[in-house]
Symmetry: C2
Subunit: 269 residues, 2 copies
Amino acid sequence: MLTSGEQPSVEQLTLSALREKIRTNAYTGSTSGLAPGYLQANLVMLPADWANDFLLFCQKNPVACPLLGVTEPGSPFLAELGTDIDISRDVPEYQVFYDGRFETSVSDLSEHWRDDLVIFVLGCSFSFEEALMQSGLTVRNIEQGRNVSMYDTQIACQPAGRFSGNMVVSMRPFTPKDAIRAIQITSRYPKAHGAPVHFGFPDAIGISDIHSPDYGEAVDIQEGEVPVFWACGVTPQNVIRQSKPPVCITHAPGKMLITDLLNNALSVL
Amino acid sequence: MLTSGEQPSVEQLTLSALREKIRTNAYTGSTSGLAPGYLQANLVMLPADWANDFLLFCQKNPVACPLLGVTEPGSPFLAELGTDIDISRDVPEYQVFYDGRFETSVSDLSEHWRDDLVIFVLGCSFSFEEALMQSGLTVRNIEQGRNVSMYDTQIACQPAGRFSGNMVVSMRPFTPKDAIRAIQITSRYPKAHGAPVHFGFPDAIGISDIHSPDYGEAVDIQEGEVPVFWACGVTPQNVIRQSKPPVCITHAPGKMLITDLLNNALSVL
């Protein structure tokens, strides 16, 4: 498994310089906060004979799996994301799953690439986090320098073919006033999970301990704040664990594909 | 004071027939649920020498006092609301205040009309309640056939000239999922109080007992629901009690001016 080690400072790099660092594996860290303004994406790669099922799964679960694009089998390119993007190289870290089980993390996919792989590019909450901050809201996980808190839920996704499972959600705490504003803002980003799916009562969606997230890190919830829950791009990984495709490759959590598109290009209204 | 007495059935009347019943004082009841689709409005009438202060108050407090129109002094007409509307006659019941104190309720303003009265026409939550129901949400006060629950708060309005006071809010309970949808829908109606100002913690805005509203009636809050609070058109009456203009006339709560405009004409986005 890849060890993260000391990472070079990349905050000030241009998008192309940052991409070069990632492509050459000189940077294998989190992409949170990098390349401000540019759209980052979740990835799911599956063999072609599993792709149609997953395409249908995305269609049926657009809040958890907002589909931005799908590659041709065997191609790591998708021109609408950017002309100089090789999806098989331009992510700091990938996770490889065999039969639904995590196998390894790699920063270079060459050993694992297959000519029948189809890549699904999915919207990611980083886009709306930026929009929230631009509106003056404080995103706690960013403020505290932590990974966002994520939880398994009992919200069932709509099954499609061989894919089924429950939704994973991310949580950010807000005062009610700020939560109302956050609902308005994130509603403008349906391709980045859109509006929250729940707030206030964790146990109502199957979360027994808000202070023990299933993924990411716990963040502080202050007096007078409510936890607000959004559908999360980790949902596909949860579904893949259950559905056990022979091979599946995803980005590593927090280490996304940075595209040439602007976050604001995703917003509606 | 006017006694409500037995009211004729008016649910099936056309808008013009309903208006005729109201104008002739044959109907003096609530306008809730009447003339579906048509915009209903709150009213505040003040002497001309108090009008500029109130105009500024509305400008500074657009969520509580969303201004739709202002008449010329002494005129009860405002063409943009409808050509056959006489605001001094077309409301089922008016309330008259002297020096900030409630004096009397009347269904006919002729005895109280003054040539220096300026009428402020303000958006009303009836517009967004209709939009909520059209989206399949249940509005509890309508479901239970009760007046909406309204509360004095400690949310201070922005003072303007001689006008100051705290915001009055209306409350509708929803599950978190429906509350999120309600926030989206009401955000589209900034001229009908727009998005909620708060949810969840009544005491955070100065409401000590959610089951004892200061105006209107209590409604049931079910397990798993949160109270959601919107700025309310009763705010001006609260402000007038404190600011004590020599005379002020308003509609009676729940008995609004029905205009020729469509609710949907108020929506943005």
